[in-house]
């Protein structure tokens, strides 16, 4: 009762940080404690948090966020190639370039709202993707993808020491972050925690309140003499920079950038993560990202042999159709599972997993007289 909002937030933040930092231990029992997967969870969590700042707070559904991810990756890789293998300048480069990109694209796209905004962002993302594959090949290396080579100048590194024999690794002042060690994971985890903190501050700030007001009724905001455009643009740029940072982390953990990262299906993926976890909630997007990346890993590795093992106790007559049915959903069919789960969530639980948890919590935490207040707590649909 007396615990203020700020105090609750500190608990939330500390709890979140603890969970993320302890992931290598927590994921041990379910066999997912290897760095490559945990890095992915953190990177996509960061991406989804950023996307949620735009979609969750303002209700503007962007279908082109993957473009920023791609730009961030390319910028980071060019920093590796031209200057130094240290990741700090690479991240700064990514932030700088995605911010410029986001200002330009956001300025144009935010002239419209609703479905037109979605189509405009989609159009820009497709333009970036197509150009990256064709004309910009000198910059992006087309279908092969941008990679480190032995002939890269790396001017700043060259000042300090002679180039080694093999390809250098991305480092943070000497600690190697690429190559699948735990260092790479902790780098991503630190970025995710910082990103989470900033997003929490935005959610609780007057600025965040303003964005929510735009979501619930933009016209009314305008009638009161309020120019909503700068706020929207700021939100767009912030969420674009999150995506760019996620892209630079991808490059830092695995120095390779391909254009397929920018395709609109990749933008669709971050939408799936955010919706699955819970739009407009703080931790929801991270949960969504973690679940999708984890199950992608598990389900894709399942084959029919595993299924026969699982359902081996059934009589053969039943086992065959059961295995056939489930084989639709595992292995290559993982996307089918994703699509079905996603549809079910949108249909029955628009608030995502967080909404589900809240409903379950309500069941146990029912006090007399509380039942009447439940319908009032339903979320308002965004127009």
């Amino acid at each position: 009762m007396f615990a203020g909002l700020a105090r609750n937030d500190w608990f939330l933040f500390l709890g979140f940080s603890a969970v993320i930092l302890l992931l290598p231990i927590l994921l041990q029992p379910i066999g997912a404690a290897y760095p490559a997967l945990m890095q992915k969870i953190c990177i996509f969590g960061l991406f989804a948090i950023g996307f949620n700042i735009l979609f969750g707070l303002t209700g503007y559904l962007s279908f082109g966020h993957a473009a920023f991810l791609g730009v961030g990756s390319y910028a980071a890789l060019w920093s590796f190639k031209l200057f130094t293998m240290n990741i700090i300048p690479a991240m700064l480069m990514s932030i700088f370039f995605t911010a410029i990109f986001a200002v330009a694209i956001g300025y144009v796209c935010l002239k419209r709202s609703g479905i037109y905004f979605s189509i405009l962002t989609l159009a820009f993302a497709q333009m970036c993707y197509n150009l990256a594959y064709s004309v910009l090949t000198p910059l992006t290396n087309g279908e092969t993808g941008l990679q480190l080579t032995l002939r890269d100048p790396r001017w700043i590194d060259a000042l300090f020491h002679a180039p080694g024999a093999g390809l250098p690794r991305a480092t943070l002042f000497g600690i190697s972050t690429s190559g699948g060690g735990l260092a790479g994971f902790y780098l991503c985890a630190a970025a995710l925690i910082i990103g989470f903190f900033i997003s929490m501050r935005i959610f609780r700030s007057p600025f965040g309140l303003m964005l929510r007001a735009i979501k619930s009724n933009q016209n009314r905001m305008r009638y009161t003499g309020f120019n909503t455009r700068p706020y929207l643009l700021a939100a767009f740029v912030i969420s674009g920079v999150y995506a760019g940072l996620a892209g630079s982390l991808m490059a830092a953990t695995d120095p390779l950038a391909g254009a397929e990262r920018m395709q609109w299906t990749a933008s669709g993926e971050v939408v799936l993560m955010t919706i699955l976890g819970g739009v407009g909630t703080l931790v929801g997007p991270v949960i969504g990202a973690a679940i999708i990346k984890y199950f992608e890993n598990i389900f894709s590795s399942f084959g029919e042999a595993t299924l026969h093992g699982v359902f081996g106790f059934l009589p053969d007559v039943i086992e065959e159709p059961v295995v056939w049915f489930f084989s639709l959903f595992v292995g290559d069919g993982w996307h089918l599972t994703l699509g079905v789960v996603f549809m079910l969530i949108v249909i029955f639980l628009p608030g995502g997993i967080m909404e589900g948890l809240r409903r379950i919590w309500k069941l146990f935490d029912r006090r007399p007289g509380d039942r009447e207040t439940i319908p009032a707590a339903q979320t308002q649909a965004a127009e």
């Binding site: 669709g268 069919g333 994703l338 996603f342």
Partner: protein, 341 residues
């Protein structure tokens, strides 16, 4: 001159596909007010109707003839498709014309699928925000294409055009302009086919009582409801019709582009752009914008143009869409009051 004509032809057949898909999208949007991201999947489903039909027709009976041997010494297997065994010459003809003939399969399948989709899923999303509609149909599109991938594999499956139309048409000679203007027959057929389908849809809406009621409902569904007409039922049929149009576009496109499971997504993005350029809710606008963008795209891929502005062929459609959306808020032919913001 020849080059320009060729580019126009090139653009027209691609534009035909865009126009057909965009027509269905607009029809659904204008009647039900639903933004259907699964429409590209319907196009792909139509293409796979053609694949299925072709497979059915090519089912063979295998008879082992021990008296004859192959070059490897094993008994010769004589394969005859059942259709040819049963129907003789007509069977062989059917085999040759399997792509156009699969329309018989595609129409009922797509109609049923469309109606089931509207009754089972879309119906529950009328009152939800457009973002929810986009999301749920996006999910459905993923589900449809993954199921297709499971049954047909991930590789493109080339479908043959009928023997008579698989060659090249010397359009230049027909028009009396010399030999250089040559063009595949099947693409010309596709263009004519798209004209016929578009014409049929417009005739249905314009000249039948049923179509008149549908148009009235698009304009003001409440008043039509007051008159005692079950407009919802008609809109369901219109959704089925839109699915059929997308399916037919897919069936006939198979000889041009071998269908694979994600062809729908690629066309979907483009046809959404087409719809927006033409103006949300305007059927004529969708058709006009489809052909216009198709032609623009083929002109942009001419080498002369690419030499001036490199890469323009990749982005021209999106660029046009951005410019039009920013200068004409309703698109080229958009109606007042439909999806304005």
């Amino acid at each position: 001159m020849d080059a320009i004509l060729l580019q126009i032809l090139n653009g027209l057949d691609k534009g035909g596909a865009y126009a057909l898909i965009a027509l269905g999208l607009t029809l659904v949007f204008g009647t039900l007010g639903v933004v259907n991201f699964a429409h590209g999947a319907l196009f792909m489903l139509g293409a796979f109707c053609a694949v299925t039909f072709n497979k059915l027709i090519n089912l063979e009976s295998v008879v082992v003839d021990p008296t004859q041997t192959t070059a490897w010494g094993s008994p010769l297997e004589i394969r005859t498709p059942y259709v040819e065994a049963w129907l003789g010459d007509f069977g062989a003809l059917l085999n040759d014309y399997s792509v156009p003939a699969s329309i018989i399969l595609a129409v009922p399948v797509m109609l049923l699928f469309g109606i089931a989709m509207e009754r089972g899923l879309i119906r529950h999303f009328y009152k939800r925000p457009h973002a929810d509609q986009i999301l749920v149909t996006f999910g459905l599109a993923i589900v449809i294409q993954e199921i297709i991938k499971h049954f047909f594999g991930a590789n493109p499956l080339p479908q043959p055009a009928p023997e008579a139309f698989s060659g090249t048409a010397y359009v230049g000679e027909i028009l009396g302009m010399g030999q250089t203007l040559a063009y595949p027959w099947w693409r010309i057929i596709y263009l004519l086919f798209s004209f016929v389908v578009i014409g049929a849809v417009f005739a249905f809406l314009q000249f039948t009582t049923y179509g008149m009621v549908v148009r009235a409902g698009m304009h003001d569904r409440q008043t039509v409801g007051f008159l005692g007409i079950d407009i919802q039922r008609r809109f369901t049929v219109v959704f089925g019709l839109a699915a059929v149009v997308a399916g037919l576009a897919g069936v006939m496109y198979t000889p041009i582009l071998p269908p694979d499971y994600h062809m729908g997504m690629e066309f979907l993005v483009l046809s959404f752009v087409v719809v927006v350029v033409g103006g949300m809710g305007s059927l004529g606008g969708a058709v006009a914008a489809g052909f216009l963008l198709g032609i623009l795209q083929s002109f942009a891929s001419m080498n002369e143009v690419k030499a001036i502005i490199p890469g323009i062929d990749q982005i021209i459609i999106y660029l046009v869409a951005v410019v039009i959306l920013l200068t004409l808020p309703r698109g080229l032919f958009g109606r007042r009051g439909v999806m304005e913001d």
